[in-house]
Symmetry: C2
Subunit: 230 residues, 2 copies
DNA sequence: TCAAGTATAATTGTATACAATCACACATAC
DNA sequence: GTATGTGTGATTGTATACAATTATACTTGA
């Protein structure tokens, strides 16, 4: 929050403001609004059937989320993520997911453990069938389970935000079965370390898992996806 | 915070909105608005001489900063930080300051190195004179120099926000000369590791420095400062 | 032709008006 | 006496009106 720091999520996802916020956020993450594209308050307001007021408030939050940048008296622009930003984020995530895996080892509940095992089982099933879409979903969910199981709202929120943040650049790298199988294997190893109560091992595996994910992404041509020199 | 994820700071500190935001933020950090205290839009607006609009927008941002919580249709409340939150934050900071020290070792410029050395020199001077106020300032500044020298806007922002965030609970622990001297020594050791180009050592020292700071805080009675069971 | 200045349109910033919701006190029924 | 219902005031949510700023196109002059 500040960014970065300790942020709360938008309290009410179902209020008008919450809906506007989430909608714009999605549209940015889905690529509907291009990098450095300008966001007009009235245009978006009309599209969502609301006035400028809730749109403006959503903008203020999206700015802190890092998704847009507001230049006073000028406008709101979708932020560009540089390749260096992506590298930094993955490295930061590597550290934090390591810490998370450590805490999960100490704090996970039986229910969460069961969900994690189920996730891995299902993920391997989808991999065997070549269901790329579901594999990607399972992959995202595995990490969310991890975040939710560490029993720290602070860390959970931090990691969820980072996770969301990189989805923008990660999309293309999912449809790759080789990495999918390897990723599943790594998930399984992390899970087993957690189950065995070996925090050190779980942490190291989580570190490496993130680094591998990053290197795979680079190999598949991150440079072609993003080449922002800002 | 964000909270957590990759947040930008409020773009224009000097616009009306920026001033309102920073003013409320300060007042919360300074303790003017108590924990769980309710913030009224009109009251704050009148106090700052503005209408509700900029106040509301500032609220939306403060919510993501994690300083307040907005309950729809009810109001904005200063968030309570639990002792567990504080522990979590310090542990997260320990990891991230470690990563930061590593990157600083690789990326620091001669000018930044010089400023860091000067900071330590001055800090030791103030310690010898018993200037507690200045010692605290120097301590804060040391960490900021560290953040600014890692050459990563992402990490810099993340750590600055966390740093800000804990100032609320840290105030009382500064006026303690014993910890002050120890802290200065640790700063010096981190600096020397960075200067020697030993990233591993710098990282470990930064980790431990944060843990020591936390334990000192606990020893001085964090429980008396905060005892929130939320 | 080019430069500077000016007018106009578009957009954001702020204030205010109105609607919706909530909290609390009071009244009424049992 | 307690519980339920209702009305009033306070507060937030949204829309709109107006002010300030910016960008752009056009005009004017050399």
């Amino acid at each position: 929050m500040g960014n970065y720091d300790v942020k709360n999520e938008v309290t009410d996802k179902y209020s008008l403001r919450g809906r506007v916020f989430n909608r714009i956020r999605e549209d940015i993450l889905n690529g509907k609004y291009k990098e450095h594209g300008e966001l007009k308050e009235v245009a978006i307001g009309e599209e969502l059937g609301v006035s400028r007021t809730p749109v403006r408030e959503a903008f203020r939050q999206l700015e802190l989320e890092g998704l847009i940048q507001i230049i006073p008296n000028k406008g709101a622009y979708v932020t560009g993520i540089t390749t260096k930003d992506v590298r930094d984020i993955y490295m930061i995530r590597s550290y934090l997911e390591g810490l998370c895996a450590r805490w999960v080892t100490e704090e996970i509940t039986p229910e969460q453990m069961a969900e994690m095992e189920e996730n891995i089982f299902l993920s391997e099933f989808h991999a065997s069938k070549g269901h790329y879409e579901q594999m990607a979903e399972m992959d995202n969910r595995f990490h969310e389970i991890l975040y939710e199981s560490c029993n720290s709202k602070m860390l959970e929120h931090l990691l969820k935000d980072f996770h969301q943040y990189v989805l923008r650049v990660r999309k293309k790298t999912l449809a790759n079965s080789e990495r999918g199988n390897q990723s599943n294997l790594e998930h399984r190893m992390i899970m087993e370390a957690i189950k065995a109560g070996e925090a050190d091992r779980a942490e190291k595996l989580a570190n490496q898992h993130m680094i591998n994910a990053y290197e795979n992404m680079v190999k598949l041509g991150l440079n072609e996806i993003e080449n922002d020199t800002q």
